[in-house]
Symmetry: C2
Subunit: 481 residues, 2 copies
Amino acid sequence: MSKHKSLKKQREALCEDLLEAQFELQKANLGPVLLLVSGNDLAGKAELIYTFYEWLDNRYLNTRAFTLPQGIERKMPRLWRYWRSLPPAGTLGFYLGSWYHQPLIQLSRGRMSDTRFKSEMEQVTRFENQLAAEGVTLLKLWLHLDDDHAQHYPPREQQKQYDSLAMREWGEFSTTEYTKVREAAKRMSELTSTPIAPWIQVDSSDAEARDLYVGKLLLKAIKQKLQGKDAVPEEHDWQPSKSDRLEQLDYDHELKKDVYKRELEHYQHRLRDLARHPAFQKSSLLLVFEGADAAGKGGTIRRITHCLDPRMLRVHGTRAPTEEERSQPYLLRFWRRIPAPGKVVVLDRSYYGRVLVERIEGFCSDLRWQQAYGEINDFEAQLHKAGTLIIKFWLAITPEEQLSRFEDREKSPTKRYKLTDEDWRNRDKWSDYVNAMNDMVENTATPQAPWHVIPSTDKRYARIQALRIVCDTLQKRLKQS
Amino acid sequence: MSKHKSLKKQREALCEDLLEAQFELQKANLGPVLLLVSGNDLAGKAELIYTFYEWLDNRYLNTRAFTLPQGIERKMPRLWRYWRSLPPAGTLGFYLGSWYHQPLIQLSRGRMSDTRFKSEMEQVTRFENQLAAEGVTLLKLWLHLDDDHAQHYPPREQQKQYDSLAMREWGEFSTTEYTKVREAAKRMSELTSTPIAPWIQVDSSDAEARDLYVGKLLLKAIKQKLQGKDAVPEEHDWQPSKSDRLEQLDYDHELKKDVYKRELEHYQHRLRDLARHPAFQKSSLLLVFEGADAAGKGGTIRRITHCLDPRMLRVHGTRAPTEEERSQPYLLRFWRRIPAPGKVVVLDRSYYGRVLVERIEGFCSDLRWQQAYGEINDFEAQLHKAGTLIIKFWLAITPEEQLSRFEDREKSPTKRYKLTDEDWRNRDKWSDYVNAMNDMVENTATPQAPWHVIPSTDKRYARIQALRIVCDTLQKRLKQS
């Protein structure tokens, strides 16, 4: 059999296997397989993707090309746009110009120090570990031409061929940068080739061989996934808390009605003015409310939001994830809710559910909630860096106070709806929640996103405290800017 | 009891009732209640919304303020941004500056003829009927000041009060326009006060009375909704088809392999060039593929998409709606998928599912699929107006041909996955589908979005026909621009 015939046969067989694997992946609704298609200019990145559009079922393919961040993207955390555009479960994604693109360019042009590059690559590695832990399979491809081709870079013949095919590459790197980019890529590969997501060098000198090679890699990756053999990171970095923050609190604070009214008006006025301050347009505000059932989150939130312009405000309740959300990485729905510049987002319960209810009810594995502390810290650090002010509240009540509030609710015809069987069940797990709360504060109270634990036996006191903290923190931030 | 005390009591009672109704609405996951808050400047539109943020559970409130369309919005159909931002099921939405805003301004400034205004209002009425039919309740409020206030417009005292409260209105209309806007609003109300969604005049002279009045309206609307007493339009406008387009076809077309190869290369080349034409950046392309199972939609789509830049392309398969999608208006998920300028969207099955599978399987009421023809025509007309080229294909095979393809699939180890029990069940309903297909073409083949019925017994022939039609239509369009 001629070489040509043999290749054709191989390709046809591979294509059929891939189609079937793609269908199985889709049916199983497993996390997506994401191919980062990187490499030298003219190394055939686009051509490779075209091949897969010819071979596979186009309905379950997603291609995204990232150039420099545009518009709102420049004001949001760097990884935001990648989070938002993660392909849905059961599909394949092709990323041209991934999260590596910008740092790589900057390093190669001498516009980023190696130290800074290293720290960026560490962040990227944590991001990729998180994706892997959430069932996203990453194939990081680096397409290169062999030395013979590279010497004559850009290869004239190939150039001509591309032009004639109207398949010009998306010019990532100019010719003269070739060597520098290669050096930077080497450094990138050193720093980010992890056991979970190694860089795979792909020789692109022969297009047909390249497509077959990548096709086989992809097939293997999907098959491993279907067999549940995906590599996932096992590390986590957290410490159980040794102190009980809830026991230490003074629950006897009280505020008289007339004082409360005066203070309420004062702080609402102040908050209204602060939110209208021109400097706030460059910042944004994320308020996180956690606490036991009936701790008074809703009422406190209403006192805060009432004085904010509804147009700049979103209040999100965090409920059990929908079926679609369950097939996505846990933090994705919260990435989708982060405030744009000049906006306020209030979370009535939040992503901390991962280390509270999900931990206690066993909705995720021990490993996953243990890893969540670091993931959440990363998430908040990125928001902070992009200018978001994060204020986190735990409204604390005693179990006795909760019981009395539950009983009040039961008696009231208009508040009964607030009380569910689940609330009663949660009461039985009080000590579990106390533990989880303490571990949470221990591991996620950072200078840029501290926890404020407010004794809330007296609702008036709690509301004024929360308003005061929001005002003071916001004022401090606006003065700095 | 003093008037003040009595009002306070009324307010407290109303507030409790509203909270409970809001909770019931949320639990029942019924379509949202959408309040269009319109009216004269300084009539207290924002203030009214603030009140509801104080009274209600903020998690289930959505406020959107629409000013003039920005960026991409200006290039998309006018109603697109309203479709996209419809509040989710079970919630309340407040729209400031709704779809009435722009036409109203233009009419009042003499920049739109009455004829044009009338036709815009007709479109809006059809849109509102569609929302109502899909379970969205509309409350259209027009806030006005009484004549005494209006005479002294803008009321100085009120102006001062707003300023001091830092609650300035969103300036919709300048002072001098007051009378003109009032005239235009009268015309608007004449044209769009339908039994389904009448305009409600709200006297805004006394803020407290106004809030109580609107609160009671809202309560009544939610209660009617919970009792299933929402008003819905009963009209539809369609004719059963009298001819059979599938019987008339010549299924004997064939294309030899070498001719096919040559033509395929020719048309793919042509399509590649057309899609890269600079003028295409101002247009966009929507390809709709329908046809019986095994008619060859996937293979035809791959031949078309293979030569398009994956970055400009999305292929969507239309599956049964998810739980979340079922709680939304039917066309919403397709509004979310329409192509932006310079992009190509291919639908492998489409919104025509409403008048095909949903009709035949009884997934929606007879009334709803009968209304769908008009709704779909409206949808396509809006896309067309915004510059989208719509090409719709029905790939036609005979039942005998389908049987033979099913049997082939059953025998092939790599194609078996394509065949499901549902495919066999659908075969039993062949004549229902023929009827539905004929009614569909009869009622939705418009000059701007014609149907192309292609005999597809020979796959090669069908693929080349589809490619040729796409090329010819696109070329014609690009020449015009």
